[in-house]
Symmetry: C2
Subunit: 402 residues, 2 copies
């Protein structure tokens, strides 16, 4: 039995928490299981390193930023190995070079390509707990890369896939996946099981429990995922391909409040113009989420899209720098917006979900700015100030508390 | 022209100091020279990391300690690259994996075996300043190692040798090599030039300006070394094979106050007993300095030796753990001792140096506990409380102020 366990930054923020993690993993080890531990940087260390960098250079190169940030997880894994030693458990820490975590070359936002698991297997064969730096990789230039925020989840799943692990446990500060964020929706209920696709939509849409790429990868390689609390021994939520329980129409409500909408207004109404807009964004490595194209005045087109709040200013700059090529009348940005989504595999065979959602938002007097749907999801963009109201209204409308 | 410049931790302790170093290196770069910069960890970061580790585990494994400590220099080099970027100078940071700094496998005290300088040459060809982590290497297991305290000097010299650099400048908080430590000997005078051998004795004997291995390596590969101030543009001291100036009898007085003497008293007077004592120490990787063997009472031998104060307790433990094998009457440790040395290539042809030193110490009423000599050095062990008095007396006796 091989188990991969991933702990985030808050779970290793100090000595006491490091020992909690070590003891928890030691229990698993003492059952005779092979244990691989994936760690993030301690507490707010990544934020502190970013602040140090910005103090030196407000616009640091992404290559050097990754060189800096990768020290964070290396600190965590070395300290964790020292804690296991005190507990009398053989353990070894490995960084991205040592596990040969090969990624694409995109600094700050790399994707894992392959892992040479030889070293890990060698250490596991020697009955050691292997502690691996999350979030980081090495590219073809032999430089450090990072996988983007939350990338340690992806590291854990990639390792579980590569090592053919029996399960991949993601430890968080919540005890599983809920029908909505319990901090804002008091009636939110923990789910025992959820499908990869539902989890993927929840992750992408800002439920904040798992990094979306990690869910994509888990689905692709069929890695059994468990989301559970680092503070309790509760069972958590199992994420897998098929869920046995009777399908609810909707399994959860997700909100993403870190969003911005950019509108490119008054574009020429000719073929290829949408391509140009999204081409300049893609070349700047900016992920676009919702897209709306509408007819503007005087035979023009308006294109609106949403991006993560983290890259909003960068996306705006990229569009403005391409004004000569795109030739819009003007460009607008709106930052106080939020995405609210209902997600559920059950809605595939039930066409009334979108209408029901719009109705409940109308009843709550909430204006919808954009709409986007998939087979198992309906997403709306609304004012950020109304996000909590919208989450609760939707949660009630679909009877998720039961 | 290729110049290697090494800056210690105090030179990169904060933003302002990082920019000072960057500007200084930029001046060299703008002359059209190739510049390689070697950095230590910022300020007290290494000490802080050690404290974090000891808090988790009072006796951390050396392998994991090196994994932890190597994050320190990586932080420095990434931030320095960001500073060069602000100055408009192309630069890139590289760690021990990236420069392929191969070392022996002794964690915490490794020696450099070879450097694959391909990556560095490639970056220099692209007219970048190359910023390299000092103090660290990678061993045959693909694990991080460190070179021991002060090892960044050795990194710089090894790089200078490997790259066939024209000069290797070691920047410190003093402006060169003095005839004695100016903090304790007011009449101390800066030397313009000194030979490798003299510098080696001064380094080994606690002058504290350069790491001894770095001088050994500079001598072996004929790397021209310059010791100079990171705070001023003064010329500094050149360390090289042959010094042109008329040889003084003695070129400097060194003191090492971080010393302990261990005495193993009442050993059997039979062949091989000294070997056994130093064999157990060698196996524990403890460097022994002065050695004195004397005849004890009742046909026994006494063996005394000095070690660095940092490893005094460890050395004592190693000896005590081997009592059954060594069978001494008892073992003593004396911690409040200091080594005072006079060094000078000129004394090779002048037998009166030792006598002159002993005379001046006698006149100053200082008791000598042990004596050790080499071709260009005389060292005595005295009470630590008398170290400053001994340094000044010796400095005066040999007329070093002129």
């Amino acid at each position: 039995m091989l188990v991969v366990k991933k702990f985030g930054g808050t779970s290793v923020a100090n000595k006491e928490k490091i020992y909690n993690v070590a003891k928890r993993c030691a229990e698993e080890y003492k059952k005779g299981h092979n244990v691989v531990v994936v760690l993030s940087a301690m507490g707010k260390l990544t934020d502190e390193l970013i602040a140090m960098a910005k103090d030196i250079n407000p616009n640091p190169s992404k290559r050097e930023m990754d060189m800096l940030l990768t020290t964070g997880e290396q600190t965590s894994v070395a300290l964790m190995a020292m804690a296991f030693d005190v507990l009398g458990i053989p353990a070894i820490s490995l960084n991205a070079y040592q596990v040969a975590m090969h990624t694409t070359s995109a600094y700050g936002n790399a994707r894992i390509k392959r892992i040479d698991s030889e070293r890990i297997s060698h250490e596991l064969d020697q009955k050691k707990i292997v502690i691996i730096t999350g979030f980081q990789g090495v590219n073809k230039y032999d430089d450090y890369t990072t996988l983007g925020r939350g990338g340690s989840d992806t590291t854990a799943v990639a390792l579980a896939a590569s090592l053919n692990a029996d399960t991949c446990e993601i430890f968080t500060d919540v005890d599983g996946v809920y029908t909505a964020d319990p901090r804002y929706v008091p009636k939110a209920r923990k789910l025992d099981e959820i499908t990869y696709d539902e989890m993927l939509d929840l992750a992408t849409l800002g439920a904040g429990v798992l990094h979306n790429r990690s869910v994509e990868m888990a689905k692709k390689y069929g890695v059994p995922l468990v989301v559970r609390s680092s503070l309790s021994n509760e069972e958590g939520t199992v994420v897998k391909e098929d869920v046995k329980v009777e399908r609810m129409l909707v399994s959860g409500v997700a909100a993403d409040r870190n969003v911005a909408r950019i509108s490119v207004v008054g574009l020429d109404d000719k073929p290829g113009i949408a391509f140009r807009v999204f081409d300049v964004l893609a070349k700047a490595n900016i992920n676009v989420d919702m897209i709306l194209q509408s007819v503007g005045r005087n035979n023009t087109k308006d294109i609106s899209f949403t991006v993560s709040g983290d890259v909003a200013d960068e996306a705006l700059k990229v569009i403005e720098d391409s004004k000569s090529r795109l030739n819009p009348e003007h460009v607008e940005i709106e930052k106080n917006v939020a995405k609210i989504s209902v997600v559920g595999a059950g809605m595939m065979s039930n066409p009334g979900v979108a209408a029901k959602m719009f109705e409940c938002l109308f009843n709550a007097d909430i204006n919808i700015k954009m709409i986007s749907t998939s087979e198992i999801r309906v997403t709306v963009l609304i004012d950020e100030a109304e996000a909590v109201k919208a989450m609760n209204a939707t949660h009630d409308a679909f009877g998720l508390e039961d």
